[in-house]
Amino acid sequence: MSSEDWKKTMVAEKGKMLLEIVAPSRQVVRSERVDEVIAPGSEGEFGVLPGHAPFLTTLKSGMLSYREGADWHYLAVDWGYAEVGPNRVIILAEGADRAAEIDLSEVRRAKEQAELAMKEHRESLDYEKARIELLRAMTRIQVAEKHGQK
């Protein structure tokens, strides 16, 4: 990538941050005027304000929120990485969904299925897969119940 490309990815409004949240299959969020980000780091939740020290961490499954002016936005993210620069935050998540996009009934069904699969398999590779599925579903339920569609 040339430095021109880098510059293009770097623009943020003055005093604000650039936030990009990308999942393998799509770009979920891109905003140039973010004031605050709170993310579920693997070593504990952390908040980022403009001018934060460069910082690279892994994320666990959980709720990520960010503020544009007075508006808070909420997402469910599953594992990944967060790269924090002075005026930007890049989140590479394995999966990410905005709270409003989550379909609660569908996620509840996924949770039940995962629980069932865990009972069936026990301590095999499938068990681990089901456990991950369960965590994903639980994060989504949490986020959607708190901030999803009413």
Binding site: V22, P24, G41, S42, E43, P54
Partner: protein, 288 residues
Amino acid sequence: MPSLRDIKRKITSVKKTQQITKAMKMVAAAKLRRAQDRVVAARPYARKMLAVIANLAAGVERAQHPLLAKREPKKVKLLVLTSDRGLCGAYNTNIVRKAVETVRQLQAEGKEVKVNVVGRKGRDFFRKRSGYTLGKVWSELGTIDYEKAADVGKNIVERFAAGETDEVYLLYNEFKSVMQQKVTLEKLLPVEPPDEADPFMAAVDYLYEPSAEAILGSILPKHIEVQVYRSMLESQASEMGSRMTAMDSATRNAKDMIGRLTLKFNKQRQAAITKEISEIVGGAEAQK
């Protein structure tokens, strides 16, 4: 000389084939659009991940991680991405030809080559021929999603980390445009981070949580998964593009063929009528 009825039957048969190729072209076009969207959607993640790795690798001692370590390449693995279905022009032929070429070349260098295949077409090819060591095969994957690609990626990383292979290459069709697919050979493992790190970030010291090594350890396998995922999507888009052009020219050929057969049919019908008239006239003459 075929009879009129034979020609008519032939025309009907070609028409039916044309209908099928036309339908296949349309289906491929619809699938292509979706596949193309997915390729575009997958690019930001792959690009951002590479940028993070570049920043990380700049800050950490090289060869710290097994996936970065260069070994004497004695055992080489080639992952070939082909399609499950045929009727897509030269798509599979091109990639298989390049695969054979690559294997020959590596063997000539005295390396032990193992071929891993995604797709039924490639599996059938390598299974039928001797002289190749065919490793794990994935076929009938259907629509590619991240999980399926991650399974393939995980398998490759595990084998590499266990020392079963020293180098892994990836061979796939890169999607350039509908008309153009490029057979591409890429080195997958060991990972070679791009030299040019982010100029805005490389100079500063990062805080790592947990340690840089731990992050690198978890991000490198993921990087392989993402690479496999991306190339699978590219392959699929290429397959659809290739099928679309192949079916388009097949439909056109059928049209030409129908035109030629219809002309022949009309000529012969005309000849038959002329013959009949002259027979009647001849008969009438004789009775005078």
